[in-house]
């Protein structure tokens, strides 16, 4: 992300939504398989329903200024996902929308993201180290706050998702498995990493093109 002021255009938002929807759709089976191992096997289905719902309403969502567009996208997730991940990803996007000014630079984005991750933790009554999406979101938030490059942030997300493999789940359905949750990647963490990497790739491509 550039250090200069940014304002996402309606076209940018549409492109980002399309990229996220495609990434989730392509990986839905993998996400579901991860959830089959340590959950109820619906995470890919849930995420796909959520991002399909956002994409179906992309025109209306992207007509709004970036903060409101993010909030609207979050509300779509809340209303469509149907699983525990819905309110969590929904809260992430909605809080980002609430916290982000219309024009923002890296620092403001990092601040807003940190607030959004805290809101997810509050919503989930969860914290770092419990083998949830927070175990990707917190490292990403730290990387953003440290002013890391887009590529570095993406790498942090991927590593953090991998790092959930040896963890024992303490929240969500995977916690029912106790020690047997060890040895599998957390599905929600995989989704987070996927979304961060998708956004990062889009930003990189855009910066290259510019």
């Amino acid at each position: 992300m550039s250090k200069t002021m940014t304002r996402l255009t309606s076209e940018d938002m549409k492109a980002l939504i399309g990229a996220m929807q495609a990434a989730i759709a392509e990986n839905a089976e993998r996400l579901t398989a991860l959830d089959q191992a340590i959950g109820d096997g619906d995470h890919g289905i849930n995420m796909k329903r959520g991002f399909d719902a956002i994409a179906a309403d992309a025109d209306a969502i992207c007509d709004k200024p970036t903060p409101q567009a993010l909030s609207a996208a979050g509300m779509k997730l809340v209303m469509s996902v149907g699983g525990a991940s819905g309110p969590l990803f929904g809260t992430l996007f909605m809080t980002l929308g609430k916290s982000l000014p219309e024009d923002f630079e890296c620092g403001a984005f990092a601040d807003a993201f940190a607030k959004a991750v805290d809101a997810v933790a509050a919503r989930g009554k969860s914290s770092a180290g419990q083998k949830t999406m927070l175990d990707v979101l917190y490292p990403v938030s730290d990387a953003l706050a440290a002013g890391k490059s887009v590529g570095e942030v993406a790498a942090v997300a991927a590593e953090a998702a991998e790092a959930t493999v040896p963890m024992e789940a303490k929240r969500g359905r995977a916690s029912f498995l106790g020690e047997r949750s060890i040895g599998h990647m957390d599905p929600g963490s995989c989704s987070c990493s996927l979304l961060v990497n998708t956004i990062a790739a889009w930003i990189s491509a855009k910066e290259h093109a510019a």
Partner: protein, 137 residues
Amino acid sequence: MDKRKGTCGMNVGIVIVSHSPLVAEGTAQMVRQMVGEEVRLAWCGGDPDGGLGTSVQAIIDAMESVWSDAGVAVLVDLGGAESNSEMAMEVIGEPRSARIRICNAPIVEGAVMAATEAAGGSSLATVVATAEELSPL
């Protein structure tokens, strides 16, 4: 107060939110058997496509359908049902959301207990406490 339903408009309403529409409907039948029409009761289950999960819109509709100033006690099963019910409360918003309480109680046993208590005209706090006597340690 809803005159259509006799005095039940003065009683705390009950909402049952399960991942499974069958569990929700069956629990509602068990509740009805205990309290008849004395308590407003609504249930929902299933994700927005009808699979196992919960739908925030369905929860909002259920909460609104039993709304009275006496408040609403919500019984949920697993995590997603709880967080989606919390989201539903936030969408409904203040001041009504302050009179909606999610019980930390088992869904079937808690619903029967909560509804039986509500049928006696107890306050929302008492209804929730009665259900929660059955709750996880």
